[in-house]
Amino acid sequence: MDREVTEFNLESYAHSEDIPEPPEEFEESEKAMAELTARSLDDKYSFINIVVLAVVLLACASYFLTMTSSKRYGDEGNKFSLERLANGKYTAEISRRYYSTIAYPEELTELSDSISSLYGVLDRSTAEQVRENTERLLPSDNSSGNGGGSHNEKEINTETGSGTGTETSASHYVETFYDTMFSRTTTIVTTLNFDPEDPYSRKTTTTINTAPDVKSTTTAVPTQTTAQTVSSEETTPSETEPTQTETETTPSETTPSETESSASETESSVEEEQPQPEADA
């Protein structure tokens, strides 16, 4: 067969019009070759893709596993027992340790802020700048109570012992989840159940916010004995800021997976505060 082919005289067709067409197999094989090449390239880049992603994923996983405090791995304070496992304390403590011992927290936060400023979500520093800009650009909005980022605060202090009460209001800005600022009204009601002979008189501060049912209550044992001092202490803007729980409560309420229930939830927290030495002054 090979011999016949080698003896085939192509020259006789050199100047004639009926040059034989190349067999169709050539075209098919070329197509097949091209497809194979494309598939092999596809496989190659898929392999590169999976290697890169797996390396990034495993690198992140090993970073969080190895670069954190060794306390997480010990049973100090988190001894395994069936009871602790059954009521969920054991696993909850593992979670808590995992997140509380992440290495380089400040660097991570800074990195996150830098990245978020690149892709758009406002980071804390940007939020501060926005607040300054808003204050400069919209002074009249604060007075009307509808300014962007303005926060209208109304504070009512009442004292059950003496029967006196004061009402003050202040405006400032609120940082929320992802630090976007918005206008809303917060009412802080401070009630002092004051009895001169009772050293355990309690001061209760309730923050009522018009954001979807954000409410917090703080109870503290006061050291001073006059309502006047309490009200002046409470109306200081720097003191009223910690009572805003929006910054802490909003993220949990607006977690994407719980969006539907965020509007209907009411959070309330009661905590003991140490008496403020400045309050006596």
Partner: protein, 457 residues
């Protein structure tokens, strides 16, 4: 535990995937899957897992009983018993309204955050399919356990039918392509959930989370709320699909592209497609196939699905309202639907969907009323607040990305161009594929850093 927790996808998932490669047998892979799922479900409340195992046993026994009595009235009774059990589990685990916080019987933080809904839906679908003859009753309880507790579909579906999952539970292989596709899909879902959805949260808060509303804030805030819901949900669905591929399961998508071609009916049916199909099947089986019964089924189904999401008055009201619209559309607008121009359809859907679905955001009727009035300019002092403007400008890049993802023509144009570019030659293909890889890796890295920063703050 949830999908977008660091301890889950940087701890549990890699260990589970790596362990499942140690042996090829399906039994071993199922064992790893069940153990991983038990850890996932029981994290925080391990004792409640017993309740889940009890329900699997009840599904197993009821399935066997239904298969023998499916042609008798007793079969319906058994199916109703299964439905009652699943509703009890749903109320107990998913929406803990019975026992107050702090009481001895409280299951305070729900055991499966949102997954109880899908868990119970899967359980009921199994017994229903056995009753309808779509699949055989499973005699191997371990296979049924694998199907029921499989963590992939617990967060946001899909409601996998046992007939589809059974062959894969008995025999499956994980190929390199599945690993690749699964990892990419999981990262895309993670990005939607961790990066895109919070951007909409920011805009939503700027527009809605205060008493002094503005005109633009009311409209854009509610759009952002819907965007947040959409990206959270589809992100979880993508993650579920990716996790399934990593374990050798190929699930169908639980959502489809938003479309107005079938008016509000098509728009509402874009999310949770597998669950809606289950409701359709149940109504078709028991309610008949006439147009009126199908329309009535849509009304009842909407109310039930809304309650299935969340047992509360606003959800019930919204469900019934949407159900009424769907009923009217099925009865009267179905024939006209083909003749209406797409633009008119879009405007119709937008005008109806925003006020109706907006009801899900508000817990009190007064707030909802206030927002509705502010949509038409009542009670607004300003048109646009500075905070809204900053939120929009600050997230403009993510908004563009979200628009490309949601808007099908734009997305198809973009992906089509990239595909054509890939096929131009080896060099172009290399550039495109490596760019895709780098972008995916960047999304993963950014998501991890964002979640870690949120954890340490």
């Amino acid at each position: 535990m949830v999908f977008n927790e660091l301890i889950f996808f940087l701890g549990l998932v890699p260990i589970s995937v790596l362990c499942s490669f140690f042996d090829r047998s399906a039994e071993y892979k199922n064992l790893i899957l069940v153990l991983t799922s038990v850890i996932f479900v029981s994290w925080g409340k391990p004792l409640a897992v017993l309740l889940i195992f009890l329900t699997v046993i009840s599904e197993y026994l009821l399935g066997l009983a239904i298969s023998k009595t499916r042609k008798n009235p007793l079969g319906v009774v058994l199916l109703l018993a299964d439905l009652a059990i699943n509703i009890c589990v749903l109320v107990l685990l998913g929406h803990n309204y019975i026992f107050p916080e702090g009481s001895a019987l409280s299951l305070s933080t729900s055991v499966i955050p949102i997954g109880a809904c899908y868990y119970t839906a899967k359980g009921f679908s199994y017994c229903f399919d056995v009753y309808a003859g779509n699949c055989k009753a499973e005699k191997n309880i371990f296979c049924l356990l694998t199907y029921m507790v499989c963590f992939h579909s617990l967060m946001a579906g899909p409601v996998v039918r046992y007939g589809d999952a059974e062959p894969l539970i008995r025999q499956r292989t994980v190929t390199g392509k599945m690993l690749n596709d699964g990892l990419v899909r999981f990262i895309i879902g993670l990005g939607k959930n961790v990066i895109l959805a919070p951007a909409f949260t920011t805009i939503k808060l700027a527009g809605l989370a205060h008493a002094d509303t503005t005109l633009a804030g009311s409209w854009l805030g509610m759009l952002a709320f819907l965007g947040e819901c959409w990206f959270s949900f589809t992100g979880l669905c993508d993650m579920a699909k990716g996790l399934g591929l990593l374990s050798g399961f190929e699930y169908e998508d639980n959502y489809r592209d938003l479309s107005v071609s079938q008016l509000l009916t098509g728009f509402v049916r874009s999310a949770n497609t597998t669950l809606i199909r289950l409701f359709d099947d149940v109504f078709a089986r028991f309610g008949g196939s006439s147009t009126f019964m199908a329309s009535l089924g849509a009304l009842v189904g909407c109310g039930l699905i809304a309650l299935w999401y969340h047992i509360s008055k606003p959800f019930a009201a919204v469900g019934i309202a949407i159900g009424c619209v769907l009923l009217v559309e099925r009865l009267f607008l179905n024939k006209l639907c083909q003749k209406i121009p797409a633009v008119i359809k879009g405007i119709y859907v937008f005008i109806l969907a925003l006020p109706l679905l907006g009801g899900l955001y508000f817990a009190r009727l007064a707030d909802y009323k206030h927002w509705l009035l502010s949509l038409v300019g009542q009670g607004n002092e300003y048109i646009l607040s500075i905070s809204m403007k900053n939120a929009l400008l600050g997230n403009i890049f993510l908004l563009i990305v979200a628009f490309v993802v949601v808007c099908v023509p734009v997305r198809k144009l973009l992906t089509g161009s990239i595909d054509r570019l890939e096929h131009r030659g080896a060099q172009a293909m290399a550039v495109c594929r490596l760019t895709k890889t780098l972008l995916t890796a960047a999304v993963l890295f950014v998501s991890v850093v964002t979640l870690a920063a949120q954890a340490v703050r």
